[in-house]
């Protein structure tokens, strides 16, 4: 019998859901089932990780640990080799803390986990796991258990190309799109979500696991490009026909989503506890900040002249920095990182800042970043600059950019070599806000509303719902007043050497040495106990 049903809604925010569960504009209630769930359940804003981004935030929700501990900071990870920087993708083997799927499994609970990021290559689980953010070409070999792909393939209407992540298309997130292209974007995500729902519905019925978890990410994708049609603050006084058409499409998506939630809750049965959470919220970003352009103008970064080959052209147009690494001291690796990596010279004559100058270089950079202004309005464009040892303390901190920028409008930076450094968008785009959503309902859940929970609380809540002790090294808690039953604390979750998600790995000596150095640094700063 399914005890715990968890529905992840990537990027969901009460800014939108409060409207869609009521009827402020006479459009009808778009999400009546969710409205009823909230009315009878418990609701709270949910604070994301310090950098509210899908991979680190969902992995924190799965591990109960901050990114400095679990080790996932972005979609893309980079390896500085001195005269070059190599970019590749984070994957499940980079997660250095145990997930709740594993914790539940080794305490006798069966799970189903669908569409969560950073779950490929798939770890062994007691139940079924289909990772999210995986190309259709690689779905078969990235599912657990073996043979699951053929079971899913037998579901009526299954289309792997509709279901899976399209890396080329999703790279357009944040770009200015004409309205008709945005409509196409929204239309694309309708069948995709339907595919995930059909798999969820089938596996919930067939497996009936103790913990069933599925994540719908159309919310995030649609809000990125069609935010202006959803945000109540941006609603035009006299809406155009194209705006009304786009809004109707978006509402259609949320109406469908409400139906999926209803059917999964009904399928789970009246005894199941229901939880919904997002990895971050959403807000409007009207401004573009081209951070590598700024670093170049300051003389800290040098662009690379691209070659003529197809691979070179692909590389130059990719969404990560393409630079002359022999002359670059600091750079932003990817727009999604909002980070700045400071390069420390490995020796005399090597590229980077001399180690002895690191602190003063970083201080100068932070001070100048905090003074960056919009030339049109004179407003500061950076809300905060986070130092990695403060924002992401933990053994994996060394893999994080030295600085993480929080822009004034919470937007993502651009890494392109385009002038000017700061400009306004034709239409505000949707961007990640640190406050997402938490909703709970079902037997044993106290109805009401709370002040802000942390995303790190969610795995504690799920463990408690499964009648399992909360590992004592989880950084979150079970908020007071959410459950009637008393919480128990148990042994800590397991620490994994990087690369152990699938099979035992040979440790990389250089990275192990670096981790030891960082651990020493953290101890010296007082972030870790001896």
């Amino acid at each position: 019998m399914t005890r715990t049903l968890f529905i992840g809604l990537d990027g969901a925010t009460f800014t939108i859901l409060d409207e869609l569960t009521s009827d402020p504009y006479g459009e009808g209630v778009t999400m009546p089932f969710l409205a009823g769930l909230i009315a009878g359940g418990h609701k709270a804003p949910l604070r994301s990780t310090n950098h509210p981004l899908t991979p680190p935030a969902w992995v924190s929700l799965m591990t109960g640990r901050n990114p400095g501990s679990h080790g996932v900071f972005d979609f893309v990870r980079f390896k500085d080799m001195g005269h070059d920087v190599y970019f590749t993708l984070y994957d499940a083997r980079d997660i250095q803390d145990e997930t709740i799927w594993s914790l539940a499994g080794r305490q006798g609970r069966r799970i189903v986990s669908l569409n969560f990021p950073m779950m490929a290559p798939p770890p062994e689980v007691e139940g079924c796991l289909v990772p999210g953010f995986t190309s259709w070409k690689h779905l078969r070999r990235n599912m657990r258990p073996e043979g699951l792909y053929d079971r899913i393939k037998a579901i009526e209407g299954f289309d792997p190309k509709e279901l899976a992540w399209d890396f080329e298309r999703e790279a357009k997130i944040g770009e200015d799109m004409p309205e008709d292209e945005v409509e196409g974007w929204v239309r694309h995500h309708l069948p995709r979500e339907a595919q995930w729902f059909r798999i969820a519905d089938t596996l919930l019925e067939q497996e009936n696991p103790d913990l069933f978890a599925v994540m719908f990410d159309g919310t995030d994708k649609i809000q990125h490009q069609a935010w202006h049609a959803l945000d109540p603050a941006l609603r035009p006084a006299a809406p155009s026909e194209s705006w009304l058409r786009l809004r109707a499409l978006c509402l259609g998506y949320f109406r469908e989503l409400d139906g999926y939630i209803r059917r999964l809750v009904e399928r789970a049965g009246p005894d199941a506890q229901i939880f919904l959470a997002s990895d971050h919220g959403f807000t409007a970003s009207p401004r573009v900040v081209r951070i590598n352009r700024w670093l170049g103008e300051k003389g800290w970064l040098t662009w690379r002249a691209a070659g003529d080959s197809e691979a070179e052209k692909r590389r130059e147009s990719a969404n990560f920095a393409y630079l002359d690494w022999t002359k670059t001291l600091a750079y932003c690796p990817t727009p999604s990182s909002n980070g700045i990596a400071i390069r420390v010279a490995r020796g005399p004559g090597e590229p980077g800042v001399p180690e002895a100058d690191y602190e003063s270089f970083r201080d100068t950079l932070v001070a100048e970043l905090k003074e960056m202004r919009d030339p049109l309005t004179g407003e500061k464009v950076i809300r905060d600059v986070l130092l990695r040892e403060r924002a992401f303390p933990g053994a994996a901190m060394g893999d994080c950019p030295d600085l993480t920028l929080v822009l004034a409008d919470y937007g993502f930076v651009s890494v392109r070599n385009v002038a000017p450094v700061v400009s306004m968008r034709a239409t505000p785009t949707g961007t990640h806000h640190p406050d997402g959503i938490f909703i709970a309902a079902g037997p044993g859940i106290a109805p009401g509303a709370s002040g802000r929970f942390s995303i790190l609380d969610v795995p504690s809540i799920l463990m408690h719902s499964l009648d399992l002790p909360v590992p004592r090294n989880f950084e979150g808690r079970v908020p007071d007043g959410l459950f009637a039953r008393e919480v128990t604390i148990g042994p800590p979750s397991r620490r994994m050497a990087a690369g152990t998600a699938a099979e035992p790995q040979v440790a990389d000596e250089a990275s192990e040495a670096e981790k030891l150095r960082i651990l020493e640094q953290l101890k010296a700063l007082g972030y870790l106990e001896d």
């Binding site: 190599y86 590749t88 290559p121 070409k137 690379r304 590389r315 990087a498 035992p504």
Partner: protein
């Protein structure tokens, strides 16, 4: 592991990767990833993961094969990949 065995492993892993892709290509030492198997960047990353999983070893140094003089290569044959892996495994041993 001798070169022939490494080559066999490379063919097997790549054949497994492309099994659902509806391709008509032969798998052999001269088969090229992009020109013959329609690989995109993400497929190359998945291929590296597949080799690491199969060999139970991370950090095989594929960046040294994929980047030459700081520039990304246009294409690679399965024979080149096998030779690279063989050399890396020999050094590691």
């Amino acid at each position: 592991m001798d070169l022939a065995k490494v080559q066999e492993l490379v063919f097997e892993v790549v054949a497994g990767l492309v099994a659902d892709w509806d391709l008509d290509a032969e798998i052999g030492p001269t088969t090229r990833l992009v020109a013959d198997l329609e690989f995109e960047s993400i497929d190359i990353i998945q291929m590296v993961v597949a080799f690491e999983e199969r060999l139970r070893k991370r950090n095989l140094g594929f960046e040294k094969l994929l980047m030459i003089d700081g520039r990304y290569v246009d294409d690679l044959s399965l024979g080149q990949i096998a030779a690279f892996l063989h050399q890396r495994l020999t050094v590691a041993a």
